[in-house]
Subunit: 443 residues, 2 copies
Amino acid sequence: MTAIRPLQRYREAVVQIRVGLLGCGVVGAALVRLLSEQREVIAARTGIDLSIARIAVRSPERGRGLDVDQSVFTADADAAVAGEDIDVVVEVMGGIDPARALLGRALELGKPVVTANKELLATHGAELFAAADAAGVDLLFEAAVGGAVPLIRPLRESLVGEPVERVVGIVNGTTNYVLTQMAETGASYEQALGEAQSLGYAEADPTADVEGHDAGAKAAIIATIAYGAWVPAAAVACEGITGVTAHDMEMAARFGYVVKPVAVVERSGGAGGDLELAVRVHPAMLPARHPLASVRGSFNAVLVEGGAAGEIMLYGRGAGGRPTASAVLGDLVDAAVNRSTGSAGRIGKLGRARIRPIDELESAFYISLDVVDRPGVLAAVADVFGRHRVSIRALEQHGLGADARIVFITHRARERDVGATLAELGRLEVVNELGSVIRVMGE
Amino acid sequence: MTAIRPLQRYREAVVQIRVGLLGCGVVGAALVRLLSEQREVIAARTGIDLSIARIAVRSPERGRGLDVDQSVFTADADAAVAGEDIDVVVEVMGGIDPARALLGRALELGKPVVTANKELLATHGAELFAAADAAGVDLLFEAAVGGAVPLIRPLRESLVGEPVERVVGIVNGTTNYVLTQMAETGASYEQALGEAQSLGYAEADPTADVEGHDAGAKAAIIATIAYGAWVPAAAVACEGITGVTAHDMEMAARFGYVVKPVAVVERSGGAGGDLELAVRVHPAMLPARHPLASVRGSFNAVLVEGGAAGEIMLYGRGAGGRPTASAVLGDLVDAAVNRSTGSAGRIGKLGRARIRPIDELESAFYISLDVVDRPGVLAAVADVFGRHRVSIRALEQHGLGADARIVFITHRARERDVGATLAELGRLEVVNELGSVIRVMGE
């Protein structure tokens, strides 16, 4: 054994930092356990001794099997924020109310806040960021996007000087699990969703995930941090994965693509002038060699495309008690160290951005169409594409008895033109049914 | 267009921070250009106006085509550190001397330091960390490992509370490029290296890369930051990629593996007791589905395996002027913000670690052997493995005229036992030649 001499022993007094915890569900309980395991290591490395002083829950008398005194539990959430024995507030209760008022109060009192609440940040972030800035204290939220994946801190700090061109992320584990299962087992959407529900990857009511609202809130937070401009969830165009079929998956594979649920944030304006962003969530076909194509199951990943840094990808577990607790704990230590030195991380000043309407964006498209199988049909269909300036890059036609299915991959085209093409195709007598329309990215 | 209202306009005074830059090669020049492009955006977002006050170079009179006044260039490196007009020092000159003394002096003067110098940190880091800690100023070095990949900051901050079990990284772009070319084109090591040299991915003297010393220095820095214990480059066991053959690549693919140049840092001691680490660099066979297996060409990636967070992977460009400059600029903004508020990031207190000698480690192995092709040879060879407690998981035998080549994949075994096996095999009359020995990971 080679003994490595210590650089120096820790001799300074340890600073006590007491935490008020709001909520004690899966993430809260995992945080209490993780902190209990890591408390000594953290104290040795940072000089901060973190302890849980209060835990605000609805039923404080219920036993939770955690290594904290039962007296720490309280039904009085305000005491876990405003109590004199609280130095830092950690919120893992979720939802807008009462979290919004409680965190506002904590910041007003000059107490740093750590939260995992994407919904709150994506709707009332501007008010919370302003309160944190006015008070000069931390508002940290690494766990709100991508679970354990370090994303917010790299965007806020490492890439603050980077000309970020685009951020593309798989930020919802439920939909990534469902689409991965469909791609790998040939399952239908309903089968894959049912399996995700039975494994606990999807909720009984999966709407927020499968319709893209969860990913939309995360896209709003990513846009706000990556570009330093307030973008609320309401500004994000969301399309769910509910229309993706087993046939689409099969065709995607044939064309060399993988279907993934993506959130896209990109600078869309020309150089110079005001910042203009496009922010959207939808399923997308990615080339099999795309860095996000191999992100399988419930894993999350975010690809940052920078003008100087090039492609950066951050990958990991986007959900689950312990992974999320790990991200919360990293923020908590940061906030505690800053609290002990009287400093604070800064969100920076949020500027203004215009949001480009989705029908002005350009993309390549996969379009599936059921048609009558007779001579001249393809010519009639191709004519509609051509008149709307949507150029076809590839197509495959398959007979279905008396009918046929045609699958098109277009070149890049305006969303508006593709919409007009689809509307007109829907009115053609030879078209039995408009099938899936999925954006194709990364080429 | 939807106009999003600004959260608040920036009204406070901008703080001027003046930079002393040591070195102006590829990275230095890229930094000057990137800062010039991003200066206004950074000022708007952080309230810091960064300017380059001095650039210390050997030939200050030489024109460099940069957007700075020629009078900024100086041959007096000490002035670019100690000058009253210098608030922050950025070092991109490389090498141990005079960088070591210059950065020591900067820290002594209470000036934050940003450096990309892995060699200096991996040999004299302890002294520099202590100086930064004593002065209470930043010593930041994101660019020293993984170029543009955010790695040091996530390890230092996001994962400070995480029980890190292992960090496995592809941290040398040259060797990853060479092995990727060999795998994908069937080229020999010499051919692939020649191509890397002609493309500028490898230096004329490639020793530091191909023998693993560059990756070893980075592994030492990763170990120090991930575990908060000083690990010098000299404690890292390094094995190069020079012995990897086209045949090994072919066999790897047949067994479902990819050969990658990895740096491995892991906690090797049992729970409780002193921290014991194993730190090493070598080529390794990874299963094709391993997250690092798809990291191709000159890209870098680091996989962190945490007890709470699970697997986290950070991926991007590990070298090049602009990617490295992007990482330096992120650190520079951080240091400048901290300087303006009188705070500093902290390395934490470095503790002690024992380094486990490599012959005590366990791994699965790929072993290639040229033998005489006659009955009974396999039995004789297998007997040697068995007597040293090295169990065989798979083998393939191929005739080569009168001789044969046998390739083995072992179960996990002690390095020491594998070494003894190889020594005895080398003495067997039926063994013509010991071929490659490559560790197999990730299963």
